[in-house]
């Protein structure tokens, strides 16, 4: 069964299509990465799923509940955990009071277990928290009622690398226990590391939906070659090479063609050293977004889209 089914979901803000006919399913028990630069429409999809905003057209279901059915969705939220991109809580309360507050509304049977992994200073008021502490508090509240689905918007932003790692491992354990994780990110390496499948969103449209492995495979190989002597670009380049760079006798490029053809082609040169690796998602991203890596794009979000 699909934990989340998104069907032609559209959200329009005036002239801006924050989500433009998005359709995909998230299966039960998978970690789904929702990938795109800031302003692409990730947060809009998440806010639609939670019923915070209403779709212009199309719909979605969470655990079979239609997001347009307000009352049913309200009840369904007992099975959903949510970590917003920007966490708003009463800042004068201490971390413990914030957790108590959410616990009264949806339970906290896993609070202690989570606090062993993520430990914000519970006795201090939230207004004194660092970004990392706020994010840890957000993670604890998102999972403490043991939800079937966790919807996480940029969950690792603000966490130090150690805590990021800890979160990734935690998500994998949750997935193995049958929970569904939907998480948005513009950090490509983390999606590559933990996600089973990925949907890539660009300017409100879903441009790719694939297994991470298939995406990497289809995106070719990153090739680095050190030749015995300097080479002429016109002689070396083929149509299957992308982002070809030649500096003296060192060459690197992304190869998208047949492997046999690549080996045959390289055989025509005197090779001192060679390395063939999977491309980074950053490079795959470039093909969807053109020039300028997503990390550099921080242009304004269309009306709360993210």
């Amino acid at each position: 069964m699909s934990a989340i089914r998104i069907d032609d979901l559209t959200k329009r803000y005036g002239e801006v299509l924050a989500n433009d006919g998005i359709s995909f399913d998230v299966d039960s028990g998978e970690i789904f990465g929702y990938l795109g630069p800031n302003g692409a429409g990730k947060t809009t999809t998440i806010r639609l799923l939670l019923g915070l905003i209403k779709p212009t057209s199309g719909t979605a279901t969470i655990l079979g509940t239609d997001i347009r059915d307000r009352r049913a969705l309200t009840e369904r939220k007992a099975d959903v955990g949510y970590l917003p991109d920007s966490i708003g809580v009463e800042e004068r309360l201490t971390g413990r009071q914030v957790l108590d507050y959410f616990a009264r509304m949806r339970g906290d049977e896993r609070r202690d277990e989570l606090l062993e992994l993520f430990h914000p200073p519970l006795e201090k008021p939230v207004e004194t928290y660092s970004h990392g502490n706020i994010r840890m508090l957000g993670i604890v509240q998102a999972f403490m009622h043991d939800p079937e689905i966790a919807i996480l918007d940029e969950p690792t932003s603000g966490l130090d690398p150690l805590k990021q790692d800890r979160l990734h491992q935690f998500l994998e354990r949750e997935r193995d226990a049958g929970k569904t994780i939907f998480f948005s990110s513009h950090v490509l390496s983390e999606v590559q590391r933990v996600c089973d499948r990925v949907g890539i969103i660009r300017e409100g449209e879903l441009v790719a939906l694939e297994d991470i492995d298939a995406l990497l495979e289809r995106s070719g190989k990153r090739v680095w070659v050190h030749l015995a002597e300097p080479v002429d670009e016109a002689r070396f380049a083929t149509d299957e090479m992308i982002d070809l760079e030649i500096v003296d006798s060192a060459v690197q490029f992304t190869y998208t063609g047949e492997y046999n053809a690549l080996i045959d082609h390289l055989g025509e040169f005197d090779i001192a050293n060679v390395e063939i690796t999977d491309p980074q998602l950053d490079e795959i991203f470039k093909h969807y977004y053109g020039e300028g890596t997503p990390m550099e794009r921080t242009d304004g979000e269309p009306a709360r889209g993210g």
Binding site: T74, R104, Q141
Partner: protein, 260 residues
């Protein structure tokens, strides 16, 4: 499901305590002045043009009831506390939407109706604190300076002001649901409550235009009539209560339909 009510009630404590404190100071000031002023008040009433007293609905300034009705209730209660409730109402939704607190609140299995009702219900804190606190201060204050206040009239002025204050909060609440920014909601609510009071007061000066004030909430709460003449307008309070429920209904309908 009272988690929101609890936390919202707690948020109201500080403001309520400060306001009660302000009234303690004001009352102390006016009660200290009254013994020496009461004799001059008759002269004052003759010296000032009548419209000045009509504007604030002031009469019988030389009695403790008239004096306190004029000094504490006509101005500070009707305008200042009215504005406080309008301000509090205007912050209920808009502030939470703006700082994204509402995102997490609504990620819980709690309906939007319940969020509004619990937030409005939390206004019991300032309502109880102010009405009990100020009534006590005024009653004790009068005894201290050797005067006495009719406890029934005093209780009534507070009881019948509750619907008025709720309407002020209701005006703020509707704006809070409609406005995109808390600042807009708050400033509009405060302005509206003040302008309504002004329209009521000014229109009351001329019988030909007095009807204009019929749409203002303060028209249905007359502190001087209650304290000086012991006239208790329960029907007017009923009108205010209905108006509050209508405003609450409008806010509920609008909030369940809007994006946050």
């Amino acid at each position: 499901m009272t988690a929101i009510l609890r936390i919202e009630s707690r948020k109201r404590v500080r403001g309520s305590v400060v306001l009660v404190g302000v009234f303690v100071l004001l009352s102390a000031l006016y009660f200290a002045m009254f013994p020496s002023l009461s004799e001059e008040m008759e002269a004052l009433e003759e010296a000032f043009p009548a419209f000045f007293f009509d504007l604030f609905g002031i009469e019988a300034l030389h009695t403790i009831e008239g004096f306190i009705a004029a000094e504490i209730y006509s101005f500070f209660w009707v305008i200042l506390v009215g504005i406080y409730f309008a301000y509090a109402g205007a912050g209920l939704i808009a502030a939470d939407v703006a700082d994204r607190t509402m995102d997490l609140t609504l990620s819980n299995p709690v309906s939007r109706e319940s969020v509004i009702l619990q937030k409005v219900a939390a206004l019991w804190v300032p309502l109880v604190a102010l009405n009990v606190g100020v009534a006590t201060v005024v009653y004790v204050g009068a005894l201290v300076i050797g005067e006495s206040f009719d406890p029934v009239a005093l209780a009534m002025v507070h009881l019948l002001s509750i619907p008025y204050l709720l309407v002020c909060a209701g005006i703020g609440l509707v704006l809070s649901v409609v406005a995109d920014r808390p600042k807009t909601a708050r400033s509009t609510a405060i302005t509206l409550v003040f302008v309504c009071w002004l329209v009521d007061a000014v229109s009351g000066l001329d019988p030909d235009v007095e009807w204009i004030g019929a749409v203002t909430p303060s028209r249905y709460f007359d502190e001087t009539a209650i304290l000086v003449r012991e006239e208790y307008a329960f029907a007017d309070a009923g009108i205010l209560l209905v108006a509050f429920l209508v405003l609450l209904g409008v806010a509920l309908v609008l909030f369940t339909r809007r994006d946050i």
